[in-house]
């Protein structure tokens, strides 16, 4: 990113190849829309290009990229208040590499899990997605959310707890 910042913008292609897939999944989890997520990926890399001089070397590129992504997503979701929160096609998140009977059960669980995740408040869903799907470290999440690492730890646990409650309630194992 340092090279991109100093004017060698062609190097951004390498960063795009490395990061655009997890970024796309992050948006897909948050928005539930494939088309919107792809647009957001474009938007994030365009903003990186435009604001490359604001990149500080003391932040990891990943944390900086997700900060930009978070802002871009909030801008978009602000424009589309009340729109999609659930993935358009839940099958997208189901793995096909399983035995048929186990596959059916897993697909049901995945649907429930996604329903539970989609029903969660945005800020809790976001911290879970960052921690579980983006594989971001707590200090990186803290940098993105501009809070303490201890706060992130508590937020992730509480989000997990709430997701568990919703998941088991949807499965009929617990009263909602």
């Amino acid at each position: 990113m340092q090279e991109v910042r100093s004017g060698n913008v062609g190097r951004l292609e390498l960063l795009f190849d490395r990061h655009h897939r997890p970024l796309f999944r992050y948006f897909l989890h948050l928005t539930g829309s494939r088309a919107l997520s792809e647009d957001l990926v474009q938007e994030v890399f365009f903003r990186i290009l435009k604001y490359r001089h604001t990149y500080q070397a003391d932040t990891t590129f990943r944390a900086w990229m997700y900060q930009i992504g978070r802002n871009a997503c909030m801008d978009q979701m602000g424009k589309r208040k009340g729109e999609v929160a659930m993935p358009e096609n839940l099958g997208e998140f189901s793995s096909a590499e399983m035995l048929p009977d186990r596959q059916v059960q897993n697909k049901q669980e995945t649907v429930l899990l996604h329903k539970a995740l989609a029903a969660m408040p945005a800020e809790k869903r976001e911290v879970l997605v960052m921690s579980r799907f983006m594989d971001l470290k707590y200090d990186e999440i803290a940098s993105i959310l501009k809070c303490e690492v201890g706060t992130v730890k508590v937020r992730v646990y509480r989000a997990m707890r709430e997701l568990g409650d919703r998941f088991f309630a949807l499965g009929g194992e617990r009263a909602s």
Binding site: S37, Q42, L113, Y157, M160
Partner: protein
Amino acid sequence: MICDRIREQIPECLAGRLDAAAREKVIDHVDGCSKCRAEMAELGVVWRGFESMSEPEPSPEVRVRFLETLHAYQEGYQEAQRKQVYSVPVKSWWASLWPSRPIWQATFAATLLLVGGLGGKYLVGGRAAQPNPEMAQLQSQIENLRQLVTLSMLREQSPSARLRGVTYSYQVTQNDPQVEQELLRTVNHDSNVNVRLSAVDAITKFAQNPEVRQALIDSIPVQDSPLVQVAIIDLVAQSNDKKLAPALRKLIEQKETNEAVKQRAESALKKLEATR
């Protein structure tokens, strides 16, 4: 309290991000605490539930679109850099002319100012010496315009507009007989004292004309305002016109003449007799 701290570490433990010591501490606690064990089991189900999900891929068009944007940006960026490079020598060429020391900068600036001032004076002086028919025509047009404005304003209904007309008459040259007659008419017939007083002041520049002075002398006895009478006496007395003396004597003899006007007339008469 201990349970709270342990539970907060369960997600990290499930993700395998805890170091060996911290992980062992969590496991030891969970072994001995049924509630935390149950919590670990539930969250473990949720955590592993995510594992069964595949990782959706964005369409290949995303990369194509990004590369198009990047290449377009690169072209624009390189073009901007090229323009910047061309602009640098021009800037440095001008900069090299300007002296670096402040004392020389001030001297250079003063010299430029002097050269400009002398050049301007020479050009303006040179042009003034040569008769320019276009300039004369333009000046004549401006003079006509001023006369027209003055005359029309002096005939306005409103006293304030007539006052502005009197003020505007100062811009008209002395030789304009129409303005002269209109100011005399204002002195003699305007209904407003302030306008008449202003008109007396404005007509001063026409007072070298004997006809104007005679008209003003004739105006003194018909004026109903002592202020205007005094102003006319002062104006005509400045020219030492002998024709004023009989008019002043008549004014002094009249019983109905204002005392202040009489005093001013006596003073002017003495002054006139002294100059004989």
